[in-house]
Amino acid sequence: MDPVIFLIQVLNGVQYGLLLFLVASGLTLIFGILGIINLAHGSFYMVGAYLAFSLTERMGNFWLALAAGVLLAVALGMALEWLVMRFLYPRDHLYQVLLTYGLILVFEEARSLIWGDDVHGVQVPAALDFSIPLTDTLSYQVWRLVMSAVCLAIAAAMYWLIQRTRLGMMIRAGAVNREMVQSLGIDIGLLYRVVFALGVALAALAGMLAAPVSSVFPGMGNQVLIISFVVVVIGGIGSVKGALVAALLIGLADTFGKVLLPQLAGMVVYLLMAAVLLWRPQGIFGRT
């Protein structure tokens, strides 16, 4: 393979992987700390993309739209947790699966009612809408590099948040011993609400960042959801580090798979998952 093409594929793979990481980290936080399996997580990604579309149109500025979108996503997350999710904590996973599956239907149709079923595009912010030339004929979109950079920044911010702040300490403690945290006077209900909202915001942000590249269409949430699950399974539930490693692995595998093995392209990711499970059923960084 031509070295420049190889570089492009690596960059694409990393960018896809980092985007997946954003979505999957929210999913793994919600699983690991709240103990909820949330099938509607992909819907948040979709909501983010559609918000990017409408808000950019209204506000005229992508970055403003991004900020507004994240705030709206946080509000949505808080509301959803309070209205519905908090009743799922004591329930069996089975009921969580079922209820969140119902939520997918609700979100899909709500999206259809609000925004219709058309495919939309979102413009890359003008200042960043150019490409870096790599050879005479090939160049790389700067926006994709920006996406990767933003995702990395978020990953670093999450690390800082979870490992170095009081909030992060409470989150980690709440994951290990809910009752103890409560008896220490910390409002665990609020804590869980914040964590859930954080998860939603991460997914929505990913959708917003991806919108200029992947366009905005119905069903985009579903695709991302399944792959995010695979990321979490491979990385290990509750492990943000695992989600990062697994997401990059999958991003690269999927990208190179499409180029090298087009007949098996869709299956590569799942074959990878099968292989990991045979070797280590709890995921790479999962606790037994």
Partner: protein, 314 residues
């Protein structure tokens, strides 16, 4: 099983048997579909309700069998009833054996997600395969021909005949399930669902029983796939999608897991609700979604819960 439910089931059976005499074609086909879905739901309930294995990938053996029938049906001709049925169910069982050997190494959330992912793997394989019809799928123009020692008493092209085939299979599967659950195997999986750790400590090789269950459920799903493909005359990748698996899980949970009639009630209720909601609004999935959310919050043990006056013990 509570008396009221027993009576309801008997009445239901009689009504179902008599229905073709009075029903119009549309409703005949609708009820046939419901009965087929009921068999599908029973097969998933074996895994979910009776063994505690929550699979989100039960569409895999279903779709595999459907595609098997498609491949076995010569263009514009009928496949043999017995051979195509045996092969379809067999292939579905084989697929389940392979997938089961892998996924049963996990449990809990991992198991749910892994079954989901394997289902998707099958979906993508079929979706991307030109020779299998790709995303459009393929048609089955003629239904299988049922021959008994060279004699063709039934014509499955007739809606009423297919209806009775589906009804007969439903009754057979239901009865078979009751027998299975009362047998040592059924008690073993009940023990595994309740306390797998203790079962192992008591000397049961639990993996074997879970795998057997997985394969059995897969074969029944295969039966459903064969029936659906024969009835609809079309196979497409959507039959393997996680939406199919998700809908099925809905039926099982809403109807009441681990109860005799739960899966049947769930299949009937969900299909009926779909029909009703579709009549109300184009956005019927919103109503369905809300219905599901509210059901889980307020009627946790499903419809069958509403029929049980006395709780069963032991």
């Amino acid at each position: 099983m509570g008396r009221p439910l027993q009576i309801l089931l008997v009445i239901g059976l009689i009504a179902l048997a008599a229905f073709p005499l009075v029903g119009e074609k549309f409703y005949l086909q609708f009820v046939t579909k419901v009965m087929i879905m009921a068999i599908f739901a029973i097969s998933l309930d074996l895994l979910v309700g009776h063994t505690g294995l929550v699979s989100l990938g039960h569409a895999l053996p279903f779709g595999v069998a459907a595609y098997a029938l498609m491949l076995l049906t010569p263009e514009y001709q009928a496949a043999g009833f017995w051979t195509s049925l045996a092969v379809s169910v067999g292939v579905a069982g084989l697929a389940s054996a392979i997938v089961g050997a892998l996924v049963l190494r996990t449990s809990g959330i991992y198991f749910i997600m892994v079954t989901l992912a394997f289902g998707q793997m099958a979906y993508y394989y079929v979706h991307d395969s030109k020779h299998l019809g790709g995303s459009d799928g393929k048609y089955i123009y003629v239904r299988p021909a049922l021959e008994l020692f060279g004699w063709q008493p039934f014509d499955l092209e007739k809606p009423a005949h297919f209806y009775y085939l589906a009804l007969a299979l439903l009754v057979l599967v239901y009865a078979g399930m009751r027998v299975l659950l009362a047998a040592p195997f059924g008690r073993a999986i009940a023990g595994i669902k309740e306390n797998e750790h203790r079962m192992r400590m008591l000397g049961f090789a639990t993996f074997r029983y879970k795998l057997a269950c997985f394969v059995l459920a897969g074969m029944l799903a295969g039966l459903t796939g064969w029936l659906t493909a024969a009835h609809d005359g079309l196979v497409n990748p959507e039959m393997l999608s996680w939406h199919q698996s998700g809908q099925l899980l809905m039926m099982v949970i809403l109807g009441g897991m681990g109860t005799p009639a739960g899966p049947i009630l769930g299949a009937a209720a969900l299909k009926a609700l779909e029909l009703v909601f579709q009549g109300w609004t184009k956005h019927w999935q919103l109503v369905l979604g809300l219905f599901i959310v509210l059901s889980v919050l307020f009627v946790p043990r499903g419809l069958a819960q509403l029929f049980e006056w006395r709780r069963r013990r032991g």
